[in-house]
């Protein structure tokens, strides 16, 4: 059944369908309506969960850590400064190998404060050990949250589902709402192998020697590397139940163009619109990155194999370096002789509009650039 809803409503609905037993959240724009909607579901008894209205995002993540330790399914949502405040706790959660799903509504980081979208908030959590999946549409938000619970509980790491603030969180789109029984089939209740159980007492997270920590980090990396395939398996299972297909990296190149534009989140939609309406002018194809952690290196290389040139649009900035996706994508091709030249563009920081026209300018700019050009292309101004 299709319903009109915002990205935030889709997120809350997905969380409700997934049936977390512990929800902990703290309000922050533009995430707040997720926290409100979940409170509503809980108050009405549609979601049987303990909802902790905590006094900060630090405590929201701590409560999810505690909840997950008990063996319960846990959910939280936040944004911007909120996920930054959680930063320390994300290391604790991932380090303790605790599954949970965190929805982050992307918003630029202060100072100065601004409500608009960019991805610095989630990308700053890059090295915490949490998985990261970026969404383009409200449908994708809903579906990805269901997939994320399954993935998190299999890999035993937290999953961050990211969506663009306002552009996705607050715009209304048609969403195919899965029925609860199908969701239950796809996502049965969590079965925790390790938990705080007085009948099987264990100590978790205590001091370790250097070698143990080293080994645990190695194991985390190995599990992250496996996680791409696990994500693909879960997506295949999801497609079997719901008929919608997802992949770590997606290519859409209807005109067989030579230029690949790599984007993530709602930027992918803008690039799609440009491609759709500009046939024959400055042809380009879209390479959409859904998975950022684990980084889907092999899938990305396959996706770019048909292109002669590529440009990454980063809605983020690592000052002193440049676009974060661009850096990672270029790194993925290290040592490859036949890689396409990969250019780096920064667009849409702080929620500045990236339009099909600015994508057209970018495509034209890139086609005339020297292949070895390393300069940042600023899409606006």
């Amino acid at each position: 059944m299709k319903k009109l809803m915002t990205g935030n409503e889709a997120a809350a609905l997905a969380a409700m369908l997934a049936g977390p037993q512990v929800v902990a959240a703290y309000p922050i724009t533009p995430q707040t309506s997720i926290a409100e909607k979940l409170a509503d579901y809980t108050a009405r008894g549609e979601l049987r969960a303990r909802y902790l209205k905590v006094e900060s995002e630090t405590s929201a993540m701590a409560a999810c850590i505690g909840g997950s330790l008990s063996g319960a399914r846990c959910f939280t949502a936040t944004s911007s400064q909120g996920i930054a405040l959680m930063h320390e706790l994300l290391y604790w959660a991932a380090g303790a190998r605790l599954p949970m799903v965190l929805v982050n509504v992307n918003r630029s980081m202060a100072s100065p404060w601004s409500l608009g979208v960019d991805h610095n908030d989630t990308l700053s959590q890059r090295d915490t050990g949490c998985l990261q999946i970026y969404c383009e549409t409200a449908q994708e938000v809903l579906d990805t949250i269901l997939i994320a619970f399954s993935l998190s509980e299999e890999i035993l790491l937290p999953v961050i589902v990211a969506m663009d603030g306002f552009l996705l969180s607050h715009y209304t789109e048609p969403v195919d709402v899965p029925d609860k029984e199908a969701v239950d089939r796809f996502l049965p209740p969590r079965k925790a192998e390790y938990k705080m159980d007085p009948e099987k007492p264990c100590t978790f997270g205590g001091g370790v020697g250097a070698q143990v920590l080293y080994e645990l980090r190695k194991r985390m990396q190995a599990d992250m590397e496996k996680a791409v395939a696990v994500y693909e398996d879960i997506c295949a299972r999801f497609e079997g139940v719901f008929g919608r297909r997802y992949a770590p990296v997606e290519t859409w190149n209807p005109h067989g163009a030579a230029l690949g534009i790599i984007a993530t989140g709602t930027l992918s939609g803008t690039v799609r619109a440009y491609i759709k309406h500009n046939k024959g002018k400055a042809d380009a194809g879209l390479v959409k990155m859904r998975l950022f952690r684990p980084f889907p290196r092999a899938r990305l290389k396959e996706a770019l194999s048909g292109f002669e040139r590529a440009v990454v649009i980063d809605r983020n900035l690592s000052p002193g370096s440049g676009g974060i996706f661009a850096g990672e994508i270029r790194g993925a091709f290290y040592g490859d002789r036949d890689r396409p030249p990969i250019f780096s563009a920064i667009g849409g920081l702080g929620g500045v509009d990236v339009t099909p026209a600015s994508v057209e300018n970018l495509a034209a700019d890139v086609s005339g650039r020297a292949p070895e050009s390393n300069d940042i292309i600023w899409m606006e101004g």
Partner: protein, 297 residues
Amino acid sequence: MEVLERKTEQIYPGSFSCPGCSLNLAYRHVLSELGSNTVVVTSAGCGSVVAGYYPATTSKVPFFHCSFGTAAATAAGLRAGLDMQGRADTRVVAWAGDGGTFDIGLQSLSGAAERNDDILYVCYDNEAYMNTGVQRSSATPLGSWTTTTPFASTEDRPKKDMTAIVAAHGVPYIAAACVSFPEDLRKKVRTAAGMKGFRFIHILVPCPTGWLHAAKDTVKMGRLAVLSRVFSLYEIFNGRDYRLSPMGAKIPVTEYLSGQGRFKGLTPEQQEIIQRDVDRQWKRLQGLAGGDEGGAS
């Protein structure tokens, strides 16, 4: 003297504590009263060191080392998860030091207290950041030397009144106890265990490493702290109803101060300032408790 019932110990022999440390003794008393159907989270501090390094652990019950500032919130999440899985009978304990309670953990403590989450929060208070090498916390008393107050002065700020802060949340139960009064401590744990909602037990745990007294004098220092009313024993019900516990006849504060190296540099005038501060606090507490001095122990 009340004869203690011998309960099942919830700790293993041996720990990583300093010689003469009373923290593990406090943990032992609290846990043996609570029993095996208990789970514990501890924030960074002496307690996380004393609990042992992997693969060793001192705890027989499930035990989680959480981040420094989040013992209360982690415990609240654990409580919520257990409740949702039909384990409301399992007791959840947040075990945190004075730094993790008075300072970095105060916000999450306030959140859990305000929500009246069904957890027992125990603060073991050794009055400074001891395992990192004796740095001042807001639980450090007036005139005490620490490595960050090298020239202690009575012009420094006095110890934060933590129980009053928790009491302002109107929680069902608060107790101030000392490891040197184990019968009283255990009784308070039993009282707390019989109640629901947010319960807070503040335990003074003397620390030879930071207080600079002989390891053999740990229990004595706790007794002197209580007898001098530097640390009084009492309970607060519903944030309002104060009840003093039996403490014995009041002694001068100098008897407490003189045995500890951390107060070594204090002049007689400074000791007098501390005495006046203790007297003022004691009078206030008596007033709150309706004048009952609690009688002899």
